[in-house]
């Protein structure tokens, strides 16, 4: 860990699917991190993770908490929503005005970050899972395609098979009937990604002509989704480093 500074803060992002924690230095470099599936007993889980991290760095640090379980993080010194934290985390990496698309398990967020790192505007999907990672997860599960193979499948598609339903339940049955009709799996997967990307683009609304798009969240690890989103938004989309940790990073920076 040469070049890294002293640890200054811990950030915890308790999401609906995974719980993320980071230790950062003054410059915002991530010194240590943890990613685990979220446990129903959030207090116990976060207490344990925090204890481990404190032990590892050997000192007490201010703690920033975010994510849907943010109010159940014992000892948190700063509690902020994931919108604000994702914006801080993303801005510390790009240091310019961008539009952040964060696709997590249950939520998809679009955050317009101003030139000073402020949140200029944001949008989130409604209660329905239609535009979220959950949508993909359900259908990939049904098709028995592992998450880490999906990009390769989509890349092999000779054409896209349109999937019109965006409701998770409808799309599932539509996909099954497409398979039954003998459509190739790769094409269906591509169609599915395009359909989801369109839904996210609708959420984003009308973007300024010069807007730069960056992506975070677990879904950003799926290259096919990044491509589909770029096509739907008609812009290049770049993925932030450690896309899953951006929220926790922002929480840590807010606490420091």
């Amino acid at each position: 860990m040469t070049g890294a500074g002293a640890p200054v803060a811990i950030g915890v992002d308790v999401g609906s699917t995974t719980c993320k924690a980071v230790v950062v230095d003054r410059a915002g470099a991530i010194l240590r991190h943890r990613v685990e599936p979220t446990h129903p007993r959030t207090e116990q889980q976060t207490t344990r993770i925090l204890d481990e991290l404190r032990l590892a760095v050997g000192c007490e640090l201010p703690i920033g908490a975010t994510g849907y379980g943010r109010k159940r993080v014992p000892g948190a010194t700063k509690v902020l929503t994931e919108i604000t934290c994702h914006a801080r985390g993303a801005f510390s990496r790009v240091k310019r005005a961008v539009v952040l698309v964060d696709m997590g398990g249950q939520d998809t967020k679009i955050v317009r970050i101003g030139p000073g790192g402020d949140v200029a505007d944001f949008a989130m999907n409604d209660k329905c899972a239609a535009g979220t990672g959950r949508f993909l997860e359900v259908i990939l599960g049904r098709l028995q395609v592992p998450f880490d193979e999906v990009s390769a499948h989509v890349a092999r598609a000779r054409r896209s098979v349109p999937v019109s339903s965006t409701c998770t339940v409808f799309a599932e049955s539509e996909v099954i009937s497409l398979v039954a009709q003998g459509e190739e799996l790769e094409g269906i997967l591509r169609g599915l990604h395009e359909s989801l990307a369109k839904r996210v683009a609708a959420l984003a609304g009308v973007l300024p002509a010069d807007a730069r798009i960056v992506m975070s969240g677990g879904v950003a690890l799926n290259a096919a989704m990044v491509d589909a989103l770029g096509a739907a938004l008609r812009r290049e989309v770049s993925v932030l480093p450690d896309p899953q940790l951006v929220g926790a990073l922002g929480a840590a920076l807010s606490a420091s």
Partner: protein
Amino acid sequence: MRSAYVQRQREEHGRKSIVVLPVHYPKEILTAMDVLAVELWGPPGAPRGPEAGRLQAYVCAVVRNALAFLAGGHADVVDAALFPHTCDSVQGLATLVTDFGGWSKPSFVFQHPKGPTRASVRKYLVAELRSLADGLATLTGRPLDVAELRAAIRLHRTIDEVKTRILEGRGRLATSDRELYATLRRGEWLWPEEHLEELRVLERQLPEAGAPARKGVPLFVTGYVPEPMSILDALDEVGAYVARDDWAAIGRRVVTPARALDLEGDPFETLAALYYEAPQCPTRSLDQAGRLQRLLALYDQSGARGVIVHEPKFCEPEAFDVPAIRKAFGERGVPLLYLETELETELAGQTTTRLEAFVEMVGARRVA
């Protein structure tokens, strides 16, 4: 609580009562005829009974819950029901419960016209108001007394004047949003004179004009009804408050006429004139630009720093104006949050997050 109140009103004052669906109706006529209005905005929460299943899931919760409530006998304490012509769904509910079961007591409709600025409207409205009064006379057993209607109009004018002072002075009033709106909403079922007394108590707490504004991030809200009320708590918790509102149930029903009304002439004409003076509401307006102007003016007066557009899901009259509202505020660089709720009793975690993030965003702007 309301049933007991209705019961007491009957026993102590011999008052008939009538359950009223949202939004606009001539309450003055009811007051003049000694009829207690009990408004039914849902009620919030899960539908009270299986009858909600008689309506599809894409009908708004206000109407589905009302169906379950009426058909489940929860409003049987009142003597009749009144359905204003608010939208297709309330209109459909009126025929559904009366023709297909769910409400067997008398029911009345008030078919207020759309597009108030048209010449044909005034004549029709006066006739419709008289027709409603004639209908209610069959319930009360005596015709409307014109002098009593004039008195009722004066009473409700006074109520609106006090409400206006409270709402305009909101920024100086220390009361929490939850308390303020609870009091304002008690007007949905209290006898108007009692409601006025409670409002006066609030008014007395108003500091002098020029007193320092209360702490917190002031917001402007437009929408339908402040449900769940826990929205107000959520805002309070993160240091924000509603500086002015255009909720259909609250601020949008407070009429402040731009010109003096004739309170001595034909009171039905006075009521029609009030209809012209009423704030623009998407359930009856033809003029989108006029509505936007009013919203922007209210926003400016309120000193708010952000807008929340708070709509019930599936509410067509409200939803069609949302893009124009977004655009109008967007062009002026005003932060705006669109919030959709379904008459749930508690806010979903995700909704709380959105509210909090919005306040974080608006709050950070002042510092910047």
